[in-house]
């Protein structure tokens, strides 16, 4: 089951600057909070978000525990050629998921 929501246009004019927005289900547990038993809940965050367009990295973000739960990221990209944008989230406890979106450039 997908726990990711991505908003990117399906088509774009060549050279158009498009916005890409992504939301993912993740607790972003800070590692600073005590749990019900008084012990600190271990840190569990997404550390890194990257976006590639036809394999070339176009955006990357290093995240800290200060990023809100269920992280939201928005950025822009220039649509130079049709292709696949791969969004990838990696982090603690071996977290690694990706989502692909196709953008057709006319």
């Amino acid at each position: 089951m997908s726990n990711i929501l991505v908003n990117a246009p399906k088509t774009a004019r060549r050279g158009e600057i498009v916005e890409i927005k992504a939301l993912i289900l993740h607790p972003m547990e800070t590692g600073f909070r005590p749990g019900p038993n008084g012990r600190i809940i271990p840190r569990n965050i997404i550390e890194r978000f990257t976006a590639t367009w036809n394999g070339a990295e176009i955006f990357a973000m290093e995240m800290s525990p200060a990023i809100a739960a269920n992280p939201f990221v928005s950025f822009f990209a220039q649509a130079n050629e049709s292709g696949t944008v791969i969004l990838r989230w990696t982090g603690d406890e071996g977290f690694a998921v990706e989502e692909r979106v196709a953008i057709a450039v006319e």
Partner: protein, 258 residues
């Protein structure tokens, strides 16, 4: 001819201004209107609203066969966009042949138990909330339209009684905060009018989607009262009354609240 047109025009002008006056006379405010612009934008944008993650999850669960019958919601109900449109505006309701009302999550669990032969999901279980959010989302923008009947009316009256009864160590009723002092500040935040227009809601405090039941429990803790057991009929009775108070206001599910 011109005179008739003029009369028609005047009638139209009066009719429209009467309609505007009616809307203006309705001073009720959804919690949405008490939020800052940033949070309103978060709710309005479907890729920024974290509640939409759960709606998406709910749409996947809707189509997933479960239980001994190996049936999905869709196997009986088809496309939720048609079959569930408006349903959430009419809950809590009395299931056919039953003698007491259930809320939407109760109805989903009844379906699981009776039709899918699957386990009931516990309150605030993520899958249950996701299904509830998905179903209620099909009524987004539609006015709340409570059903009536002798049994429902009796439970609704009980709900109003709970709403007006002082309880807890702070000796407060729901009405003291949400009728008498709504709009004033408590701990820096406007006290809402307590219209359940967007449940399940994504409450920033929870950093998750949660039910009206969970929110009511937070209220009870706030007034230092003992929360009712999770399966208590009080929650449904109170929800019936709150939905009556909110009758006609549009559903917002999934709403974002601080």
């Amino acid at each position: 001819m011109t005179r008739r047109l003029l009369v028609l025009g005047l009638v139209l002008v009066f009719a429209s201004s009467w309609a505007v006056a009616q809307v203006a006379a309705d001073k009720r405010r959804s919690g949405y209107q008490d939020m800052g612009e940033a949070l309103q934008k978060m709710q309005d944008d479907d890729t920024a609203n974290p509640g939409m993650l759960f709606v998406q999850l709910g749409s996947q669960l809707w189509a997933k066969p479960v239980g001994a019958e190996n049936k999905s919601c869709a196997d009986c109900h088809g496309a939720a966009a048609t079959s569930m449109k408006g349903v959430a505006t009419r809950y809590p309701a009395i299931p056919q042949g039953a003698e007491r009302p259930v809320d939407l999550e109760g109805r989903i669990n009844l379906c699981r138990a009776e039709n899918q032969k699957a386990d009931r999901l516990p309150p605030d279980n993520r899958d249950l909330l996701a299904l509830e959010a998905y179903v209620a989302h099909q009524s987004r923008g539609m006015p709340i339209a409570p059903p009536y009947g002798p049994i429902l009316d009796a439970f609704r009256a009980q709900g109003e009684g709970i709403y007006r009864r002082r309880q807890g160590q702070l000796n407060l009723s729901c009405a003291i905060c949400h009728d008498d002092n709504a709009g004033k500040k408590l701990a820096g935040i406007a006290i809402p009018e307590a219209h359940p227009t967007g449940y399940p809601i994504y409450r920033l405090e929870w950093q998750a989607l949660g039910s009206l039941k969970r929110r009511l429990r937070n209220c009870l803790v706030g007034i230092r009262a003992e929360a009712w057991p999770l399966d208590a009929p009080e929650y449904v009775a109170l929800e019936l009354y709150l939905m009556e108070r909110a009758k006609g206001l549009p559903l917002e599910t999934p709403a974002v609240r601080p």
